[in-house]
């Protein structure tokens, strides 16, 4: 009798745990199929399933949600215009949680659902292990945001990166620092693949140009106290501090630097380019520079997209929404050029992309499947908003 009671309790606990764990996977996924009944006019030959892989939970859920929304919006527009090759696109979202193990699970889920292609990819560390999975399954993957240079080596040829890679960003940072007369810098990363990559690239470019990197530091995700790092930086006294990771910790670093009396230049990488950084850091964020991806707010071609986005979702499109929209359109464009949903054909068509006009500018790929130009801009926090720095 007692045994039975214990078993029952254990089962209850198990149910509880499962609920807890899978609670992580479920939320913030706007209904993908909502638009199913809204197309009375268009006649489709069939449906094709497009995979979206972004973090919809975890610390980067905010940008990930924006990207998912952008893809949903693009898909709705494409379907309204007759779909692709006469087929209606439906979507399935895999939540990579900005975490390599969750990303692997998300990729496996999308592969088992037999998606014809995947768009997405935000955290490079999470995107990295999925490249081989998609490659083995023969599924083309258009990477909208992830841009660590480590992705290039791991790419079996099925992934296409439409965001400029880390070295293009480091070059932009170098150029801007030089323009400001900066001679010494301190670098801070959070240990994630993307931020370490950007830090290494910046360091290499900076030292090659003959300047000095005074300190290199790392903070852990989940920590709040940067006082030891800040004391080190204050001691070294660099002209500028460059933060290469995401906005949550970035805001903490900015606040703690300013609270400790650091008056030099602060610049953050594209992972911190969301409005959230300024909202979190408040007045301390004023004057902070950012090497940013081409955000829709600054793109004249994107005004229709912004209004369409705000109509469909009650929020501002984030930093990567424009790139995600471009990724989705590029993929559809490639399918139409390929004339089939066959993976090999789409892959060949993507590689042969020639001056595809996206919101963020023309897309063409290098032989390594990376964007053949730098698309970074410098923005600055001014009166509580990001603005293009002149």
């Amino acid at each position: 009798m007692l045994k039975n009671k214990n078993v029952l309790l254990l089962m209850l606990v198990a149910v509880f745990l499962v609920f807890g764990v899978f609670g992580c996977g479920g939320p913030a996924t706007p209904p993908a199929d909502e638009d199913a009944g809204e197309e009375p006019a268009a006649e489709f030959e069939g449906e094709v399933l497009l995979g979206i892989m972004v973090p919809t939970t975890g610390s980067e859920a905010s940008d990930g949600g924006d990207m998912e929304n952008a893809a949903l919006l693009a898909v709705e527009e494409i379907n309204a215009a007759g779909g692709v090759l006469g087929h209606k696109i439906v979507t399935s979202t895999g939540d990579d949680g900005c975490d390599p193990s969750k990303a692997t699970a998300a990729a496996s889920k999308l592969i088992s659902e037999e998606v014809f292609s995947v768009v997405g990819g935000y955290c490079s560390g999470a995107t990295l292990p999925t490249l081989k999975l998609y490659g083995d399954a023969g599924i083309p993957f258009v990477i909208a945001a992830s841009n660590a240079t480590t992705l290039i080596d791991e790419n079996p040829g099925w992934a296409f990166m439409i965001n400029s890679t880390g070295d293009a960003q480091a070059a932009k940072a170098l150029e801007w620092f030089e323009g400001l007369g900066v001679e010494t810098i301190s670098l801070v990363d959070d240990g994630s693949a993307f931020s370490v990559d950007l830090k290494d690239q910046t360091k290499a470019a900076w030292e090659a140009a003959g300047y000095a990197v005074l300190t290199e530091d790392r903070v852990e995700t989940g920590t709040q106290d940067f006082s030891a790092v800040v004391t080190k930086i204050m001691d070294a006294g660099p002209d500028a501090v460059y933060w290469t990771a995401y906005q949550g910790l970035g805001a903490l670093l900015i606040m703690q630097l300013r609270q400790n009396g650091y008056e030099g230049i602060i610049m953050v990488g594209d992972g911190s380019s969301a409005q959230e950084l300024i909202d979190l850091a408040g007045p301390d964020a004023e004057g902070v520079y950012c090497t940013a991806p081409p955000k829709v707010d600054f793109l004249p071609a994107a005004q229709d997209f912004i209004s369409g986005y705000k109509e469909m979702f009650p929020r501002e499109p984030g930093a990567y929404a424009g790139l995600m929209r471009d990724a989705t359109y590029l993929l559809v464009d490639a399918v139409e050029r390929a004339g089939s949903f066959d993976g090999e054909a789409i892959k060949a068509a993507l590689a042969a992309t020639d001056s595809f006009e996206g919101l963020s500018g023309p897309v063409e790929f290098t032989p390594q499947n990376t964007l053949n130009r730098s698309n970074f801009v410098i923005i600055v926090a001014k009166d509580g908003k990001w603005a293009l720095a002149e």
Binding site: L17, V219, Q224, D225
Partner: protein
Amino acid sequence: MTFWEIFLQQLFNGLLIGSFYGLVAIGYSMVYGIIKLLNFAHADIYMSGAFVGLITLSLFANTFVGNAWLGIVLSLLISMLLVGMLGVLIQRVAYRPMLKAPRLSILITALAVSMLLYNTVMLLTQGQYKPFRTGLTHDSFFVGPLRLTETRVVLLVAAIALMIILHLFITRTMYGKAMRAISLDRDTCQLMGINVFQIVAITFFVGSALAAAAGIMAGVYYGTVHFYMGFLIGLKAFTSAVIGGIGIIPGAMLGGLLLGLLESFSTQIPFVGTVWKDVFSFVFLILFLLFRPTGILGRAESERM
């Protein structure tokens, strides 16, 4: 900065972060002392405390314009009360029915409560960082070479004051005496007419309230709160409790301060830096525990509380 200036600055940094560790570590230690449970949910209580503080503070946002500290203290007290009651509720629902069950079962319910709190807050906040606006300025002043802000000094003093009050509560009141007695021998206490369940509930109330206080202080100090904020500090506070001698409250405080200082100073050691600081601190702690397995204040046969 000269060597001594850096030394003093890092000393202060270490004391402040260490006192946060200490406040959270006390909760682990008290609960372990009294019912031998590693309360996994404690880190999430800390996080919940910060969020309850954020909500109560926003309620007072327009009441105490110009006197930020009054609002902070009031919301600190209210949140400590609320989160203390949350701790009691968790204890009543998830732990008390399990006291006679095998030790592992109660460990699992603790894990489940942790998951529940963590995921609930994640869903409610959509995983986003939330700004913790207090209206405090961060004008700094110098004491000798040491750069301080009003916020930092007040927080350090408050943390130490809370620890002293707790110490007096444990050593000078009947409730404290009952807690110490229960940690020695629960069954005998019951026979002697001590209401064990009531004392266990009080223990959870006090431990949770202190964690909530630490959570709010972290919010005030760092300016943002996040559903993930309890994870790392929970691990480190638990470590602090073990180094100090688990179950011994002054030990938890000492352990917290020791870990804070270790982390802060290790970043200054060449080749350790911020990248290797945790490796360094934890290697040190492994060595320490090898030579002193019962922790700083622990004795092989000691009264645990």
